[in-house]
């Protein structure tokens, strides 16, 4: 009996595997601020956050790469209701929203504040923060632990931000991450840089200071405002008009309280030199082993295979039949084609050969 199908042995011919796929994601600061004259920055009328694209966002080629926003806790010293406190409620709302999602609630149902070292019971909190929300396009299933690096320009003057470079990493993230967040695993972000501009009292013996948190699965960076202020010998001037104009004082705390969220995001982007990380995609695969024995698939139903019903690759009945494989089709029990795999070149099949073709379907 002729047949063109071969049934899989469900016990032996299909296996489910799981693989992690990593991509290196570099984002250069010139994209974030400079190259496109901010045509790739989208602000919203609600003023709660700012979206950054990798190309002017009106173009269909643009990809949304991350969102920026900032906020502070209600208990922060920056919180207040005077005329100099711009968008005070929105900044608190943003902080609380991020905190309840990422840090969760305490035993009394109150929103936890971000904790500098991840020990929620004790220790300093991050009360003022910038948030970098990486899109799923970049972070995929999660950020690979230990791969994150962010370079910030922390030169004292607004006009020369790259005079000092602060490098922020999730060092030891592959082994030192935390699991007490409702949003998955997170690591502590450490800043390091030259002793010439970092306050040595703030760093450990290896020269690192805690400046934020990185939520791996959520793809969110919580960056303490201290990276621009108390960590440094000379706090930076965040404002475009240094020391005057926009803000009487251009310190990060003054800008955080006295400038709108969009303005804070602009100032943050101005000091954004590079960010790079590896993302992770979890691939669940089913591998089908298509076992082709020597007696299988030696003939073809290709119309060119026959000339007046005679097999063209044979002269005599005793010649061995030959066929060539270019495609593997996976079929349902009712003979419907569910998946197709193509070989990169034809594979010769005759009664003297047999092989196993591994077809992997990723989900």
């Amino acid at each position: 009996m002729a047949t063109s199908f071969k049934t899989f042995n469900s016990d032996k011919d299909a296996v489910v595997t799981r693989n992690l796929l990593h991509e290196a994601i570099p984002v250069t600061g010139t994209i974030v601020s400079g190259t496109y004259a901010d045509n790739n920055i989208k602000n919203y009328s609600h003023g709660m956050f700012q979206s950054v694209y990798d190309y002017p966002f009106l173009s269909s080629s643009a990809n949304h790469i991350f969102d920026l926003t900032c906020g502070y806790a209600a208990t922060s010293s920056l919180s207040g209701t005077s005329a100099t406190h711009v968008q005070n409620a929105k900044k608190i709302n943003i902080y609380n929203q991020m905190a309840q999602v990422l840090a969760g609630f305490d035993a009394n149902g109150a929103i936890r504040r971000f904790d500098e070292d991840g020990d929620l019971t004790i220790g300093p909190k991050i009360n003022e923060a910038y948030f970098i929300n990486l899109t799923r396009l970049l972070s995929k299933d999660e950020i690979k632990k230990g791969s994150f690096s962010l370079s910030l320009g922390v030169g004292p003057l607004y006009s020369t931000p790259w005079a000092n470079i602060l490098t922020i990493t999730d060092k030891s993230g592959s082994e030192g991450y935390k699991v007490n967040s409702p949003a998955g695993e997170y690591g502590i972000l450490y800043a390091t840089g030259s002793e010439s501009f970092i306050d040595e009292t703030k760093v450990d013996s290896l020269g690192y200071a805690k400046v934020g948190l990185l939520y791996y699965q959520a793809g969110i960076v919580v960056l303490s405002a201290s990276a621009f202020g108390s960590l440094l010998d000379t706090p930076v001037s965040m404002s475009r008009i240094e020391g005057a104009g926009l803000h009487p004082s251009a310190s990060v705390t003054a800008v955080l309280s006295g400038s709108a969220i969009s303005g804070n995001c602009d100032d943050m982007r101005h000091r954004f030199q590079n960010v790079s990380f590896n993302n992770t995609t979890e691939l669940n695969s089913t591998v089908y082993f298509c076992r082709v024995n020597n007696t299988d698939f030696n003939y073809s139903s290709n119309p060119t295979y026959l000339s007046s019903s005679q097999i063209v690759v044979k002269t005599n009945a005793g010649d061995i039949p030959v066929s060539y494989v270019t495609t593997v089709g996976l079929y349902s029990p009712d003979n419907e084609l569910l998946a197709v795999a193509k070989l990169s070149e034809p594979l010769k099949k005759d009664p003297a050969t047999e092989f196993t073709i591994r077809v992997r379907l990723d989900y």
């Binding site: 009996m1 002729a2 047949t3 063109s4 199908f5 071969k6 899989f8 299909a14 089908y288 082709v292 007696t295 299988d296 030696n298 003939y299 073809s300 139903s301 290709n302 119309p303 295979y305 026959l306 007046s308 019903s309 097999i311 063209v312 690759v313 002269t315 009945a317 061995i320 039949p321 030959v322 066929s323 060539y324 494989v325 270019t326 495609t327 593997v328 089709g329 996976l330 079929y331 349902s332 029990p333 009712d334 003979n335 419907e336 084609l337 569910l338 998946a339 197709v340 795999a341 193509k342 070989l343 990169s344 070149e345 034809p346 010769k348 099949k349 073709i357 077809v359 992997r360 379907l361």
Partner: protein, 311 residues
């Protein structure tokens, strides 16, 4: 689709078909891979050169250099020719399926396709009470009233074997797939049938509206019968024949929408006896009906033209 890089190791480019994705999305367990088949759509076996100098290793040099296209996701566009398993290795002839272009099942001579007249107006314009539709014109409006049908014959189409030889059982096709665009028409018995309820029911209809009908020789219907006598398109030992008619879909019969969307103005007069449907007075949609032998794997695409007279 581009070609696959064939400069290094053999790689596999695997994708789910649109039907596969649909079944996966349904989430009801219908996405179940149970079997596989191998295809050779790109291969032209005419390039196999048994006279190549240098011997056997050079016979298929051209075939092995054939570039292979990336996978199509349309389930109807792949695996059109499948590799076959026969237990014997000494077969020299394999069966084919051919249109029986003769008598009541002949193609329309001037167009070279079967022409399905989709509504009563079109049928009546070409036929009056005293005439029957000529060869190749099928009554798609009321197929039970037409005597023309489509027939395919299967067997070893060679004069090297006498036609009175019995075809070996393993080369006798007893089960067929017939596929037709369900938006355009459906299958109707080639003989018999009394009304619209006599039409066959499709086994499956895929996401591209391609209806698949499965017929077996022992299935109780009259679609598949063994070929007896000389009225066969097969020159050698004959196997089975498939006969059916095509009924126009309700959409084609009652609306011009698909003719506007998919059709074209007529380009040749359709003649039936003394009646002529001029090219300017109708629109048509060209399609194919695919007949595939399930066990022997051979596939035949039958050209079909659906015709509707302009209002």
């Amino acid at each position: 689709m581009g070609f696959l890089d064939n400069s290094g190791d053999i790689i596999l480019d695997a994708v789910l078909t649109d039907l596969g994705r649909k079944r996966l999305a349904e989430g009801n367990g219908r996405f179940s891979v149970a079997k596989f088949a191998l295809g050779d759509d790109e291969i032209d076996y005419g390039l196999y050169d048994k006279n190549a100098t240098g011997g056997t290793p050079y016979y298929d040099i051209s075939i092995l250099q054939t570039p292979v296209l990336e996978a199509f996701t349309n389930n109807m566009s792949s695996m059109k020719s499948r590799l076959m398993t026969y237990s014997e290795t000494d077969l020299l002839y394999l069966p084919v399926i051919k249109i029986n272009n003769d008598g009541e099942s002949a193609l329309n001579a001037s167009i070279g396709t079967y022409v399905v007249l989709v509504d009563e107006t079109t049928v009546n314009y070409l036929k009056n009470s005293n005439t029957e539709l000529v060869a190749g014109l099928l009554n798609g409006n009321e197929p039970q009233k037409g005597v023309k049908y489509i027939q395919t014959d299967q067997g070893l189409d060679t004069t090297a074997l006498p036609s009175n030889t019995v075809i070996p059982p393993n080369l006798l096709e007893s089960q067929y797939f017939i596929q037709i665009d369900n938006r355009l028409g459906f299958l109707y018995p080639g003989t018999g049938g009394t009304n619209a309820e006599s039409a066959y029911t499709a086994t499956t209809i895929d996401d591209d509206s391609i209806a698949s009908y499965v017929f077996t020789k022992t299935g109780g219907d009259s679609v598949i019968t063994e070929i007896n006598g000389a009225d066969s398109a097969i020159q050698g030992p004959a196997g089975t024949k498939v006969t059916f008619k095509i009924a126009a879909s309700l959409s084609l019969r009652t609306s011009t929408y698909l003719f506007t969307q998919l059709g074209t103005p007529g380009n040749v007069d359709i003649v039936c006896g003394s009646n002529t449907l001029t090219a300017a007075s109708y629109r048509f949609i060209d399609s194919t009906v695919r007949v595939s032998g399930i066990s022997t794997g051979y596939t035949l695409d039958i050209p079909v033209r659906f015709v509707k007279k302009n209002p």
